[in-house]
């Protein structure tokens, strides 16, 4: 069994993720869906990446693979000095536990737990987490900590999900449409938090969005189409989340 250890002080701009020739084929009965058709990609430490693309283009699939939730059908994915495509389930679990923060497209909160307890689910098993209260304050929910998800609006639930993903101070933050359910103002609050985590902790951040405006925040914008990288460009300068308008 390979064990993922903290990186031996990687050089500042070294590639954190190295993705080569990754394909993903889903087979359901007779039907074959080629979700990814050959992705080559390097992500650097502290880089803020926005992933765009039409529905069904493979964004979530790619994010799952980067997060160690899924393995590609072929190709390799390296995180620092570990080949995620060769890790067994236990090592992938440890990789997620120690390095990755997720924000899911559908929040996935535990309905039986309060906001604070939902964050604690993650901080309970993290090495040096923020206090759940602090994480919730960061997303502007300091006064709703003891509410259950059913007592929160969709946007508030989404923010709990963000608080939960950043509370462990992850090396990698992967967000699937984190602002999908939010109005402009709350959306910006959330993006600010993500931006701050990225900046202050040097967290490598990947955000999937359908909102092209958000692309302005990114160091790099990658567009997927039909399972391939259709385009990729760097922003000359990142726009602060606060000044986004849509």
């Amino acid at each position: 069994m390979t064990v993922i250890r903290p990186p031996p002080a990687a050089p500042p701009s070294a590639a954190v993720f190295v993705v080569r020739g990754v394909t993903k084929v889903y087979r359901t009965g007779e039907v074959e869906v080629r979700a990814l058709r050959g992705i080559d990609l390097d992500l650097h430490a502290g880089e803020f990446v926005v992933l765009l693309g039409p529905s069904g283009s493979g964004k979530s699939t790619l994010l799952n693979i980067l997060g160690g939730l899924d393995v590609p059908t072929s190709g390799t994915v390296r995180f620092r000095d570990h080949d995620l495509t060769r890790e067994d389930e236990a090592a992938l679990t440890r990789y997620r536990r120690e390095h990755v923060g997720f924000v899911f497209q559908f929040y996935n909160l535990m309905p039986s737990l309060t906001a604070r307890e939902n964050v604690a689910v993650v901080t309970d098993i993290a090495a040096a987490p923020l206090a759940p209260e602090e994480a919730l304050r960061l997303v502007g929910l300091g006064d709703r900590m003891d509410n259950f998800p059913a007592q929160l609006s969709g946007g508030e639930q989404q923010r709990v999900a963000i608080a939960r993903s950043i509370a462990k101070r992850p090396d990698v933050l992967l967000c699937d449409e984190p602002t999908g359910a939010l109005d402009v103002k709350t959306g910006i609050t959330v993006l600010e938090v993500i931006e701050r985590i990225n900046r202050e902790l040097g967290t490598t951040t990947v955000i999937i969005t359908h909102n092209a405006v958000i692309a302005g925040m990114a160091d790099r914008v990658i567009t997927l189409s039909d399972g391939r990288i259709a385009s990729s460009y760097r922003n000359a300068a990142r726009i602060a989340a606060q000044s986004l308008v849509w």
């Binding site: 979530s60 994010l63 799952n64 997060g67 939730l69 899924d70 389930e89 236990a90 679990t93 440890r94 990789y95 997620r96 536990r97 120690e98 990755v100 997720f102 899911f104 497209q105 559908f106 996935n108 535990m110 309905p111 039986s112 737990l113 307890e117 939902n118 604690a120 689910v121 993650v122 309970d124 098993i125 059913a150 699937d176």
Partner: protein, 787 residues
């Protein structure tokens, strides 16, 4: 507390009614197990200690009259560790609180000190003084039935002579834990009692001075019982030995052992059923919990919780339910066990009933329950552990419904929309529906299993007193009498009819198998005793041949037409071969029957009779008793009707209590299964039902679609349960079978009906409870939730 632990507690609180229902089913299993095993162990421990402490003998033999000097030769038999010779005699008692005479068995104790074997436990009073005439100890069961205390005096007939006896003490003996006469169906502590007297006065009263007519033996370790028996029989044959028997044929020991066998059966089948049902319901509930939490599980995995942590998380949910059930069951079982032990204490007289709730038994029950729970949830937990983490990113695909095959047959076209939904739901989860049906059916079956023994007892009583035995009294004479004794008996007041019988002890041999039995000679012109074959048809006694009870035929491996060696064990001990012409249905023991005249010829005696069966006019019963008491030749007059009444009184109280528990047990199973089935359907279809309500269907219509499913399952379960109940009852009858006892499988229709009604009621109650939840459905919340 970690967040996951908090979640566990909240999940459990959310499931509380379902959890309680499951815990109760487990509790029933644990309670029956703990109750029967701890009582079983207590009885075994109590009995074994009692046997050891009071030196219960291992072999028993009766003999006509053997000189006392023979005792030493008996003691020299290899394998014999100790011998106790005694005088044992029947006496009749005239008691103030009873019109009829009671029968006593008087057993001698050595003139000085304690018997070497079958020692007595003196409860009250003192040992009899050998110098004083008529001092006796009385067995506690008889003393209690007549409120006898030391100092009381009794009028008795000993060997046809009047004698006044003085009770000096109340005692117990390992030989008479269960006080019943061989051949009787029921114990009758009022009409039969055991007494002890010093040997010298007893021997003198029965002309057995310097002699004995009974001996008990303790064996050395490793002694070969049949070999020792053979040597004892050889030594005693010239003196009228009746053949030695081991503990297995000792009446009290046999009854106690049979009871232990029953407890053993009770400790296995019903708990297994409860635990299986619990395992199934646990499986369904946990599967549903996991299905509703699919995305939560996936998210937890995405956060880095290991499969083992998540498996353990849900495993704990099941474990807590199981442990709650074990705790309930252990408490209830311990309490019930105390009651059962007390009940046994009334039938079985031990020096001290040592009932303990053994922690090891509770641990064992806990172990079995956890195993059953694990059996139920392992697959579900495995699914949790294997659930791909990537699922967290996608919502669950909508369930796939199909037009069902039942609908394609066109049968359902006539059904209401409500029933159609119910049928589709069942067809969508055919395995679950089948298992739910089976679970409810097991509820029905458990109830039948718990209550059918009453039917068996009733059947035996009806058979014995309705079809076989038409006499009211059996008269036993001290000595076989000439035929003129019969008209004398017939002339007694109130006697409507008297029929003679001759009873002799025999040893029957078929090939290498031999067994002792009572051989009864019956008159040809007979009304009062109808023998019936195994199909319950009346059979005539053959002019020359034998009829055997089923049990005896089985023991000897005899079929109709086989020839037996018959050796009479009294008088001139004649031997001859006789053919078995038929086997008889007979629940009262090991008997053989032949024609009275043929038996008299075989015995080479005149037309002697041992006693008579009497039918009497109940109005004259009191006068008859008075006359019988005054007739010295009559050793005893016994009425099994009277015994039956006494027995039924004691039994009915216990049966009522047992029935209450059976109803509770069956109800709990049915409730547990039906309630959970309904709750799970409700959880799966909450959105659908809420939508129907929003569209404008009434509450009644909406609950109808759900309760329709429950009703279908329950109705399907009833016939299955009745069949299963009969099957289990059959297995139970087999499990209770001993060499000498075999019970008929009888389940009365009232038992079937009670089981069906109980389970229907429980199903109805669970339906109503769920209906209240449907009525209270929060439409907005349900439609808003993404689940």
């Amino acid at each position: 507390m970690t967040a996951l632990q908090t979640k566990l507690i909240r999940d459990l609180a959310y499931l509380r009614t379902q959890a309680v229902a499951i815990a109760l089913v487990i509790g029933c299993g644990v309670a029956t197990f703990v109750m029967s095993v701890s009582v079983l162990r207590s009885l075994e421990r109590t009995r074994d200690r009692y046997y050891d402490d009071f030196r219960f003998a291992q072999l028993f033999v009766q003999v006509k009259r053997a000189p006392r000097g023979l005792a030493e030769r008996l003691a020299e038999i290899p394998g014999v560790a100790a011998v106790q010779t005694r005088v044992v005699a029947e006496l009749s008692l005239d008691l103030d609180d009873m019109a009829e005479a009671a029968v006593g068995r008087m057993v001698s104790i050595p003139d000085f000190g304690e018997p070497a074997l079958n020692r007595l436990h003196l409860r009250r009073g003192r040992m009899p003084d050998p110098e004083r005439r008529g001092e006796v100890l009385v067995n506690e069961a008889f003393a209690l039935a007549h409120r006898l205390e030391p100092g009381d005096r009794l009028r008795a007939l000993l060997n046809g002579r009047r004698e006044e006896l003085t009770v000096v003490g109340v005692a117990l003996s390992p030989e008479y834990i269960y006080q019943i006469r061989a051949g009787d169906l029921f114990p009758d502590d009022r009409r039969f009692g055991v007494f002890w007297m010093r040997e010298r006065p007893l021997a003198a009263a029965f002309d057995l001075t310097e002699a004995f007519n009974d001996a008990s033996f303790a064996l050395m370790h490793g002694a070969v019982e049949p070999e020792v028996i053979r040597r004892i029989d050889d030594l005693l044959a010239p003196y009228g030995g009746l053949g030695a028997v081991g503990r297995a044929d000792q009446v009290s020991h046999r009854y106690v052992s049979d009871e232990l066998a029953q407890l053993r059966a009770m400790a296995s089948v019903p708990p297994a059923i409860f635990l299986l049902v619990a395992a199934f319901v646990l499986n369904v509930v946990l599967n549903r919990v996991i299905a509703t939490q699919r995305e939560q599980i996936a998210a937890l995995k995405a956060f880095g919780y290991t499969p083992a942590e998540l498996g353990w998380h849900f495993g704990q949910l099941a474990l807590l339910i199981v442990l709650a059930g074990v705790a309930i069951g252990a408490a209830v079982g311990g309490w019930l066990g105390g009651g059962l032990a007390e009940m046994y204490g009334r039938f079985f007289r031990f020096a001290r009933m040592d009932y303990r709730l053994d922690p090891a038994v509770v641990l064992l029950a806990g172990g079995f329950s956890v195993l059953a729970g694990a059996f139920g949830v392992t697959a579900a937990l495995w699914r949790v552990m294997r659930l791909p983490a990537a699922e967290a990113m996608r919502p669950e695909a909508p369930a796939r419904y199909r037009v069902t095959w039942l609908e394609r047959t066109g049968l359902l076209r006539r059904l209401s929309q409500v029933m159609r939904m119910a049928v589709r739901q069942i067809e969508r989860h055919p395995l679950r529906a089948a298992l739910s049906t089976l679970g409810v059916a097991l509820g029905v079956a458990v109830m039948i299993l718990g209550s059918f023994t009453r039917d068996v007892v009733n059947y035996i009583i009806d058979f014995q007193f309705g079809a076989v035995q038409h006499y009211d009294y059996t008269i036993t004479l001290y000595e076989p009498a000439a035929p003129d004794a019969l008209p004398a008996l017939a002339r007694l007041p109130g006697v409507l009819r008297a029929e003679p019988y001759r009873a002799v002890p025999v040893r029957l041999a078929h090939g290498r198998r031999t067994h002792r039995a009572g051989l009864l000679g019956l008159a040809e012109d007979r009304e009062l005793l109808q023998l019936r074959d195994t199909a319950e048809r009346v059979v005539a006694v053959p002019a020359d041949g034998l009829l055997l009870s089923e049990a005896l035929a089985r023991l000897l491996d005899v079929r109709r037409g086989d020839v037996l060696q018959v050796q009479v064990l009294e008088g001139s001990r004649p031997v001859r071969s006789l053919a078995v012409t038929d086997t008889l249905r007979d629940f009262s023991g090991l008997s053989a029957y032949m024609d009275l005249a043929a038996l008299n010829r075989f015995m080479r005696e005149g037309r002697l009779l041992s006693g008579a069966f009497l039918r009497i006019d109940p109005a004259a019963e009191a006068r008859l008793h008075a006359r019988l008491k005054a007739t010295p030749r009559v050793a005893g007059a016994s009425s099994q009707h009277a015994a039956l009444r006494g027995f039924q009184d004691t039994l009915s109280e216990n049966l009522l209590r047992m029935r209450l528990f059976n109803v509770a047990f069956a109800g709990i199973i049915a409730f547990g299964v039906v309630y959970n089935a309904a709750r799970i359907t409700l959880s799966e279809r909450a959105r659908e039902l809420a939508t129907l309500r929003v569209i404008g269907l009434t509450r009644a219509e909406v609950s109808g679609t759900l309760l329709g499913e429950v009703a279908l399952l329950t109705l399907a379960a009833l016939p299955l349960g009745l069949g299963l109940g009969r099957l289990l009852a059959g297995l139970a009858v087999k499990a209770l079978e001993t060499e000498t006892q075999r019970f008929p499988l009888v389940v009365a229709s009232s038992t079937y009906a009670a089981a069906a009604v109980t389970v229907l009621a429980a199903a109805l109650v669970s339906g109503l409870v769920v209906r209240r939840r449907i009525d209270g459905l929060d439409l907005v919340a349900v439609l808003k939730s993404r689940d």
